[in-house]
C-alpha cells in the first residue's frame, strides 16, 4: 500500500501555505497530522498531486486564553489537548473527548485542525465544536473569515472551506462556571470511531436544566446539533419521561449509514441511548 506520487512542500508561514494552495489549485491538499489523509492515500482513495505540510508553521500551534474564549491553533495535536491544564480546567469536555479519539500514537500526530476540517462524519471533534458554539478561522488569498462550526459542515467530506483556504485556529467559548458536561461515545473497541456519540453541555439552576446544547457524532453525513432534544429538557429535572422525549427528538434527526458498525435502526437506537446517558452524566456533574 504505497501512495501515488506527489510533490512535497513545507511552507514556513500561513501566507506561503495559502499562496501555494491557490497557485497549485485543486490538486493541492494541506497535510496536518496525516492520520486521516495518509491512510486514504495508501488506499488510493485520495491522490493529491501536491501536499502542503503545515508542520513548519510555528504560529499554527498552541492553546491560549483570549478573554472568554480558548483559541486553539490548527496544528495543536490531540496529545497537546490532553496535556493542557487550561483545557482540563476551562473546557473539560474537550479533554474527555480527545481521550476517546483513536489511540496514543494517533493522538500524538492527529491535530484539531485536521479533525474538524476533514469533514468525516466519524470524527469526534466537529459535533463537540457545534455543541460548544465554537468558530473556525479560515485564511485564504482573499483574507480571513470566521465561520461558526454549526455552519461549516455541508455533507460528508464537504465543508465551507473554499479552495485555497486553510483553517488556522478554532475559538471555543469557555462554558459557564459550574456547567455540566459529558461526551458519551459507543465504539466497538478502544481506538474505534463512534458507532454513535453524543455531547452535552448544560447548566442547572435549582435542580432544573437552565441551558443545554446537544451534539451528535456519526449518525448522519454531517455532525448534528439536536436542537429540539435540547429544548425538550430545558426547565425540567430530567425525569424519565423527559429523557425519553429528548432521546426520541434526537433519533428523529439521525440518518446514519448502515455499515460495519451496525444497521440504521441499531445506530439510531444507541444514538438515543448516548443522548440519555450524556444528559444524565452532565446533570450529575453540574455544580
Amino acid at each position: 500500500m504505497i501512495p501515488g506520487s506527489f510533490s512535497y512542500h513545507r511552507p514556513a508561514s500561513v501566507a506561503d501555505a495559502v499562496k501555494l494552495l491557490s497557485d497549485l489549485g485543486e490538486d493541492a491538499r494541506p497535510l496536518a497530522g496525516g492520520h486521516s489523509l495518509v491512510p486514504m492515500m495508501k488506499l488510493r482513495l485520495a491522490s493529491p498531486a501536491h501536499l502542503i505540510d503545515l508542520h513548519g508553521i510555528a504560529g499554527l500551534k498552541g492553546i491560549r486564553r483570549d478573554g472568554n474564549k480558548l483559541v486553539i491553533g490548527a496544528m495543536t495535536t490531540q496529545h497537546d489537548l490532553l496535556a493542557s491544564e487550561e483545557v482540563a480546567k476551562s473546557v473539560p469536555i474537550l479533554h474527555e473527548a480527545a481521550l476517546l479519539i483513536a489511540d496514543p500514537q494517533v493522538r500524538y500526530r492527529g491535530t484539531i485542525g485536521g479533525n474538524v476540517a476533514n469533514g468525516d462524519p466519524g470524527n469526534d471533534m466537529p459535533a463537540l465544536m457545534m455543541t460548544l458554539g465554537a468558530s473556525y478561522r479560515l485564511e485564504g488569498s482573499g483574507g480571513t473569515r470566521d465561520v461558526a462550526a454549526a455552519d461549516f459542515y455541508q455533507g460528508a467530506y464537504f465543508t465551507a472551506l473554499e479552495p485555497g483556504e486553510i483553517l488556522t485556529s478554532v475559538a471555543v467559548p469557555v462554558p459557564a462556571a459550574g456547567h455540566g458536561y459529558a461526551y458519551e461515545k459507543l465504539k466497538r473497541k478502544v481506538g474505534d470511531y463512534a458507532t454513535a456519540a453524543a455531547a452535552v453541555v448544560l447548566t442547572m439552576s435549582g435542580g432544573k436544566v437552565a441551558t443545554c446544547a446537544i451534539g451528535l457524532t456519526n449518525v448522519h453525513e454531517t455532525p448534528l446539533l439536536a436542537t429540539d432534544a435540547a429544548k425538550a429538557v430545558i426547565g425540567t429535572s430530567l425525569d424519565a419521561a423527559t429523557l425519553a422525549k429528548a432521546a426520541a427528538a434526537a433519533e428523529a434527526i439521525m440518518a446514519p449509514a448502515a455499515d460495519a458498525r451496525g444497521p440504521v435502526e441499531y445506530r439510531k437506537h444507541v444514538g438515543g441511548i448516548m443522548v440519555t446517558r450524556a444528559l444524565q452524566r452532565a446533570a450529575a456533574n453540574a455544580k
Binding site: 510533490s7 512535497y8 496525516g34 495518509v38 495508501k42 508542520h55 496529545h79 500514537q105 500524538y108
Partner: protein, 166 residues
C-alpha cells in the same frame, strides 16, 4: 518523481538517503537503512507494529512520510539495548514474562512501552492497557505483555517486581 535528500538521526547515528516524497518512513527505515526490526503489520494505521519513537512521541511509521522526518531524532527497536549490549529493562521484561509468542508485534510494543514509561514511570495496569491500545497482538492476549511492562517499570524504578495474584 524527483527524489529528495533526507537526513535524520536514528538510534544516535546520523543517517541519510534519497527518497521519493511518497516513501513512507517505515519503508525508509527497513529498506534504505536495512533495519528490519520495525515491522509492517496492517499498513492501515491500526496494528502499531511499525511504532517508532520520534522526537519524544510514539509514531506509527507507516503513516508518516520519510520527508516529514527530516532532521528528527528517531529510536527504533534496534536502539533499545543498553550501551554495553545487554538487554534493556523492557526487553528483559518481555523475555522474562513471556511477553511474546511469534514476536511480530514485539518491536512496536517495546517502542510504545518505552515512551509510556518515559511519560509515566509507574503506570497502573489500566494505564498500561490504555497506553498500548494502539498496538495489536494476535498471539499472547496482552496479559503477559502487561506483565512485561510492569516488570520493566519495577526494574527502572529500582523496586522488586511482584506479580499480582490471579
Amino acid at each position: 518523481m524527483a527524489k529528495t535528500h533526507v537526513t535524520m538521526k536514528v538510534n544516535g547515528a546520523e543517517v541519510e538517503g534519497l527518497v521519493e516524497p511518497r516513501t513512507l518512513l517505515v519503508h525508509f527505515i527497513r529498506e534504505n537503512l536495512g533495519m528490519t526490526g520495525t515491522h509492517i503489520g496492517c499498513e492501515t494505521t491500526h496494528c502499531g507494529a511499525c511504532t517508532v519513537d520520534i522526537d519524544g512521541m510514539s509514531v506509527k511509521s507507516c503513516t508518516m512520510f520519510a520527508v516529514q522526518a527530516q532532521g528528527s531524532d528517531i529510536i527504533t527497536v534496534e536502539g533499545m539495548a543498553n550501551a554495553d549490549g545487554t538487554l534493556s529493562a523492557l526487553q528483559e521484561g518481555f523475555r522474562m514474562m513471556h511477553g511474546l509468542q511469534c514476536g511480530f508485534c514485539t518491536p512496536g510494543m517495546i517502542m510504545r512501552a518505552h515512551r509510556l514509561l518515559k511519560e509515566n514511570a509507574s503506570p497502573s495496569e489500566e494505564e498500561i492497557r490504555m497506553g498500548i491500545s494502539g498496538n495489536i497482538c494476535r498471539c499472547t492476549g496482552y496479559q503477559n505483555i502487561v506483565k512485561a511492562i510492569q516488570y520493566a517499570a519495577a526494574k527502572i524504578n529500582g523496586v522488586e517486581f511482584r506479580e499480582a495474584a490471579e
